[in-house]
Symmetry: C2
Subunit: 408 residues, 2 copies
């Protein structure tokens, strides 16, 4: 009997009726003799409702209290899901994160899982229970309730799958798998039957919102077999995330196009091109707990260079403030620019490793469409560019066509 | 610096604005140099909303899951209250019951507090924090979340006051104190400045809904000074619940009239008048975790007697079922009757101890109004009668007048 972890997101448990449908899906798996651990998010809208309540109390709610308040959303759903299962004659039990216990560090609102005590869950599974765990949450060493940040329920599911050595971690979503790009932007987008872990990691971190990056990283680290499926359709195998490279050289070079619209770009112009300069800039930013995404520094001329990085839009003002107060004078920057009307677009594919000309094809396509690129950054299996947000749709559509992704 | 526990019920924290008003009240006390522990209920309506959600999942929700779901209401309010305090520049921290930790037995949905670990709270108080505790909840020895039953936040407050050896436990409510009877029924009802612990216990258990019986019992057991105050008026000393007998013999004999409408009466007629019969009847009822209130057995004739007891209206059908299935044949009852259209009325006063004629005055008054009494039961400081629910208002009004309570 293998253990399967099944995660259902907010839209899958958005109403009592939907929770009952989830319970029926789970019950079917359980009756096939599987040991099931279910991870649930808060009912869609509930987390925002709680955040808004907290923000009515004070402008930037104190994170410890925020976590305690917001974590109740998943606790309610986990209890309701257990009840729906019991109602179907299935033995079921719910746990909040701190009950499991899922130990995290102390970074409230974006805590990281340090350890999972799987004793209670294993005991329940062996006693024939379906165990329902509240996603997105844990508690620190002192028992303070913590949350893992938005999308953290995916991380909970993968971490539980790793701790329990589960056969598979199934992420149920409102899409039926991973697509070559967002079908809402490009109607020709095609579902992929499989995607490699590395590709998924690039896709996830680039805004293909199906899976949270951290969850994918976790899955990679602990070799958890991940599958993305639809909550609403009973058929379909979804998309499996594999750990093997694609063997068939005939497979498409580019697997997908990801994009993200909620970043902001910051540039420091005319700074000295010398060792340690990157740390002098990004150290204070990291200290303020601001996540930096892209970092680009070009070769300098006359001992001077430019330094560009991107952060989440919401962090732009805070970052700009830090740069002006703590960095500008120190690194003798001539000028600091910022822009939040940008989008980041990336083409992703393990095939790029063995195929030349992908980059040039990409840039040619964008040029032919008259789209200007401000920044370029590449990895082994990805090429990312930053462009004006208003050009994004044209860029994605033309690249999807240029790389024949509709026939993937 | 003395420790004061302040409890705010559901109507006092019913909206973000009301929570802010509570925070301002607390902040004023804190700035006077008191160490404050605040206990809060769920926002009014929230508990019912959660119960309804659970009941959509299954008809009689499994109690362990119910507790985990329902306890989130108070957890949210405690976090919001802490935020509102922090917003006023007060150091504050919230705790769910399991975090404190408030250890209870395993009786889900009506758990009893076994122990309170006050270490964390004391440490925070000494560090200048106002500590906000989610009322109504705790956890059992295995870490399962439990709730104390309706009104359990009062019990949480008193139990915390006892554990912390608090100077006073202040219960803020939507009334400004304890009245001679319910002012909604008798407009002449008068607020009492003080009431003895024993009187309050009788009043509370008899449906004067200001304080939960269990909380008053707890206060008596641990000699916690209780005060009932209004959340909404800033002035007024409320009603203090004292441990001394009234010294002044001139004080009124009857302190108040309490009543309760949500009970049901069950009678077993023609049962053998022999030792152990009460246990044979009530044993199976207790096993089903049904609370029994009044118990009346009269002297038998011809070896046969009648046995009457009352339970909560909601438990009537369940109790009747138990009596018919497990008790009737066994005790050879001729007939079992039940009635939920009844009310229980009691006059309460420590003065009764030293004053004769209170009972006869009560019965004469009711007789003059043509009110029929089905059952009578007395204690040292209380006389209770059961009458038809439709006669209740007339009975309370006439007794309030007969005992001059408006001039108390």
């Amino acid at each position: 009997m293998s253990i399967i972890v099944q995660k259902f997101g907010g839209t899958s448990v958005a109403s009592p009726e939907k929770i009952k449908a989830v319970a029926e899906k789970v019950a079917k798996f359980a009756s096939n003799g599987n040991k099931i651990v279910v991870v649930v998010s808060a009912m869609s809208g509930e987390t925002n409702k709680l955040i808004k309540l907290a923000e009515k109390m004070m402008r930037s709610p104190e994170p410890r209290e925020m976590d305690s308040i917001v974590s109740t959303g998943e606790q309610v759903t986990s209890g309701l899901t257990a009840l729906a299962l019991i109602n179907l004659g299935i033995k079921a039990k719910s746990y909040a994160g701190h009950q499991v216990k899922i130990l995290t560090n102390k970074s409230h609102t974006k805590a990281r899982i340090e350890n999972i005590d799987s004793k209670l869950i294993k005991k329940d599974l062996n006693n024939g229970y379906v165990v329902v765990v509240a996603g997105f949450q844990g508690s620190d060493i002192e028992g303070n309730i913590t949350t893992l940040g938005r999308g953290g329920s995916d991380t909970t599911a993968v971490a539980l799958a790793a701790a329990l050595k589960a056969e598979e971690c199934q992420i149920y979503t409102d899409v039926d798998g991973i697509y070559t790009t967002d079908p809402r932007m490009v109607p020709e987008a095609k579902k992929l039957d499989s995607i490699t872990f590395e590709e998924m990691l690039e896709m996830a971190s680039l805004g293909s919102k199906v899976l949270q990056t951290r969850a994918v990283e976790f899955a990679g680290k602990y070799k958890v077999k991940l599958r993305v499926l639809s909550s609403f359709h009973t058929s379909g195998e979804g998309t499996i995330i594999t750990f093997e490279d694609k063997k068939n050289m005939e497979e498409p070079i580019v697997s997908g196009i990801a994009f993200i619209k909620d970043e902001a770009e910051l540039s420091l112009l005319g700074i000295p091109d010398m060792p340690g300069i990157a740390y002098q800039i990004l150290g204070p930013v990291a200290e303020a707990n601001i996540d930096v995404d892209m970092i680009i520094q070009n070769i300098g001329t006359d001992g001077l260079t430019d330094f560009t990085f991107t952060v989440h839009q919401n962090d732009m003002d805070k970052t700009l403030n830090i740069l002006n107060k703590k960095v500008k004078q120190h690194v003798k920057a001539r000028e600091i620019n910022s822009d939040n009307k940008i989008a980041k677009l990336s083409i992703v594919g393990v095939g790029m490793r063995s195929n030349v000309g992908v980059a040039s094809k990409m840039f040619r396509t964008l040029a032919e469409e008259g789209i200007n690129i401000s920044t370029i950054s590449t990895s082994e299996i990805k090429i990312s560019v930053i462009l004006e947000e208003k050009s994004l749709k044209k860029a994605v559509t033309s690249l999807h066509k240029a790389f024949n992704l509709a026939d993937a």
